[in-house]
């Protein structure tokens, strides 16, 4: 099953690249640099998804102390940190030619950075506590508190005056982009979501085996 997910994610990523570079046209105002969107938006979506899963799994763990819930939260947080780091890096690379700067302390960028630092802290906390049950409990609380930053990240572009543009897809009403560009974006969102599922499944599998070896 995990192997199948791996092959499926490789196939969908290739399809996403073909859609982003072969099918989607050159954007009129930004030129080809806009193609970074097919990487930046899907990784940001996966970051939302990953920390949303951490939130749900953390509540599940505190509810019934299931080791499976803790393993899922741990795996999802780890993958979420990778994807959030990529979102920030890709956004920064896109920002230089379009905004004229690599970085600005804009509300969206700052709130995403806080999210990233919070989940890096989550992973450090796990590593710092030897007692697995206690680490799981503390991390579940941090996983829930950390997820409160998610709405702040998403709505920051509405609540504050920012350089970052408002959402084009995850908003009320129809998406405001050309259908072919939207299709390429959705193909990449699907591809990165499958890759997320593959990474999490593989990580949960190793965490379960580590747990069994230590038992």
């Amino acid at each position: 099953m995990i192997r199948l997910l791996g092959w499926l994610s490789a196939l969908s990523l290739v399809t996403g690249l073909i859609m982003g570079f072969g099918v989607a046209p050159r954007e009129l105002t930004q030129g080809n640099v806009q193609r970074i969107m097919y990487l930046h938006v899907p990784t940001a979506w996966v970051a939302y998804l990953a920390f949303g899963v951490v939130f749900v799994a953390s509540i599940w763990y505190l509810w019934n102390r299931a080791a499976r819930a803790d393993q899922l939260a741990h795996a999802s947080a780890e993958v979420g940190v990778v994807f959030t780091g990529l979102t920030i890096a890709a956004g920064s690379i896109w920002g230089k030619p379009t905004w004229g700067t690599w970085w600005t302390w804009d509300a969206r960028l700052t709130s995403v950075t806080i999210l990233f630092v919070m989940y890096v802290g989550y992973l450090l906390l796990r590593g710092m506590i030897d007692d697995r049950e206690r680490a799981a409990r503390y991390c579940a609380v941090l996983g829930i508190v950390g997820a409160l930053d998610l709405p702040l990240v998403h709505f920051s572009v509405y609540w504050w005056r920012t350089l970052h543009q408002p959402p084009s897809v995850l908003k009320p009403g129809a998406p405001t982009m050309a259908p072919v560009i939207l299709a390429a974006l959705l193909a990449n969102v699907a591809a990165f979501t499958i890759l997320y599922a593959y990474f999490v499944a593989k990580r949960v599998h190793t965490l379960r085996r580590e747990h069994e070896l230590l038992a």
Partner: protein, 46 residues
């Protein structure tokens, strides 16, 4: 606006390297666990 292909290549190359490195880490961890499991399950020699 110029196309700035360098930035596009840099972003995708970085993503490829980071995701590839994470995947390799998962595969390596999996292999280490398999070795430990096989050692643990191997019959003890007298």
């Amino acid at each position: 606006m110029p196309d700035n292909w360098t930035f596009v290549v840099a972003a995708y190359l970085l993503a490829f390297l980071v995701l590839g490195a994470y995947w390799r880490r998962l595969v390596r961890r999996d292999r280490q666990l398999r070795t430990r499991e096989s050692r643990r399950n191997a019959p003890a020699h007298s």
